[in-house]
Amino acid sequence: MSRESSQPAAHHTPPSADSSGVLVRAENISYRYRREDVLRDVSLSVPRGSVTALVGSNGSGKTTFLRLAVGLLRPRSGRIVHPAGLRPKVGWVPQVDDSEVLYPVTALQVVLMGLTPGLGWFGRRGAAGKERSLRSLARFDVADLASKRFRDLSGGQRQRILLARALVDEPELLVLDEPVRGLDFTSAVGLVKTITDLASERQLAVLVATHSLDLVANHAAQVALFKEGRVQAGPVDEIFNDALLSEYHDAAVHVGRVAGHRVVVPGTTLGDAP
């Protein structure tokens, strides 16, 4: 996988060719919010079939990049390219805290919403749509919640239902904003495993913004480190090293291994366990 960066030219590699399976490519994009540069000259390719994780502290520009990637925002300069030609079909999972709780909708009705854009103005979802929605709920082990009121569910259950909604219309690009925030350890691992499997099975391009370095270290194929509007991107093996992570987090960070899995911990004194 090519290594991309908004750092000085010596580190920058042009985006990979279309034949590499890249679904979305950001080319030197910049974005400014209230006279402040949020992103500066960022380039990043999002390939099919794997997870690309955006990592960085709060306010580093991760969510802004997600919004630019799916067209919610327009870059101030640079461009978002879709090598396949058309804008890919998108599945979007917002932060679960943003969920609207006033609506008296069931989990099934939330998932059915994911089919709305594909229906056109007067289309009907019908029994087939309901069947697809139930299958999508089952994929995340929440089919039994179909008739439950969405607002009455826990954060983890809501997150799974939003994921089921994002995938019900079989998108090519799945975008997730903090998908494991508020989830317990087991739920978070299970969710990330499911997403990774889906990316592989369906040749789905997954773009995820997260603070969970451990999960990224073990499940993402590519990582983009965000800091002050600049990005350093590459395969996990290249990016997850003590020096780079410490620099991007302004704190000592150690990457080690426990039982074959990468772990990321603060400080530098922890030795690698077998």
Binding site: Y33, R34, V70, G71, L72, R87, V90, G91, W92, P94, D98, S99, E100, L102, Y103, P104, V105, T106, Q109, V110, M113, G114, T116, P117, L119, W121, F122, R125, R149, R165, D169, V175
Partner: protein, 427 residues
Amino acid sequence: MSNWLDGTALQAIPGAVEAGLIAGVLLPWLGMWVVLLRVVFLGVTLAQVAAAGVALGLVLDSPPLPMGLALTLLVVAGVVRADGKQSSLAADGKLGALFCVASALALLFVSQSPADLDEVQHVLHGNLIYAGRDAVQITAITLIAAVALLGVFFKQLLLVGFDRETAQALGLATQGWLLLLFAVLATVLTVSMRTTGSLLTFAMLLLPSLASLSLRRGLVASFGLASALGGVGTLAGLALAVHADLHLESSITVCLAALLPLCAAWRRHWLLGAVAAALCFAGGWSLGAEPVEAEPGHAHHHESDVVTELSQPWHVDVELSAAQGAADDTIQVTWLLTMSRQPDDSTVPDELWLMLTGDGVFHEHRLTDELSHLPQGTTTLTGTCLVPSLGPTHRLEGQLWTGSMESLDGAPVDPEQGAVLGVDVEP
């Protein structure tokens, strides 16, 4: 059984019942969107903008409704356009500023309007009891079209309302859908202003919707419940106003507001809800313990003595014919009064006034001030009057009073004692 329960009293105000029920059932369905999208303040502001537009139309001597609608839609377009933009001012702050400006402009325009103040008040604030057939029809058509339109695009609006960012990410033109919703809302607010007035329109939009959502039913059921509760609350308000001689719009608003605690009680236990409803019913009944049969709507003073006297054996019939003036700003009305009275009847009032209402019309005309001096048996009187109109009017509805509405001596004539039929206006 009291006549307010068997419905005969409500028959005296058929236009108000018709307009009230149409608005009471359909406005809550639209109000569900206002509540769910959390745009209540936008709705309030749009109503003020519509009022300012209508008042501007009166000043410029142009049709007030189209002017109000145009101004409101212009603001809707601006609000939707500004929706996704970065700004240092909060959205509700801007709406608050707009609300202040629109309210002030409405008052300024009204003060400069050459039209009669009663007409201005009628056009700006509506009056359910004098809802003319044209106004009721326009309101009904507008509301049915609005519900149908939003019903067709229910799925899209649901996604945009529930999760706008996701809707946008999935490729929906969220601003377009919001524009549709707000434009429909603006149109409904502007048109409803003529019949239900701004207070009642908002009560009907919000209160049944909030009550329905508090029952925590499903999505479709909540929309249906809001309409059902709106209808029930409106009917209760109409009955209460007739029974206790209360201001009509306020009575309906109070009854709609009562839905909130009633639904909260029902949600705890249906029996609690039923008891609370029974208590409300008893409270309403006790308000009218002293029988008052005057027409509701202007009950600042009780006219029970006059009305009791009017129930003596005498009768007045008034027939009307009407023709639109050449400039569309006047209507020539010809009336024929037939008075029948029995011997020794000393209860006949001296004056008889004709109240005329219609689309852009609110006018009172004294038919005679010598009614009590007319001879026994049957007598006929005839005359004409010129009625100011704000635009083309297709129909006028009439009502008989024993004095001017502004006078403390005036009261509506009991429909059994005196009748006047509505009349189509000839072009």
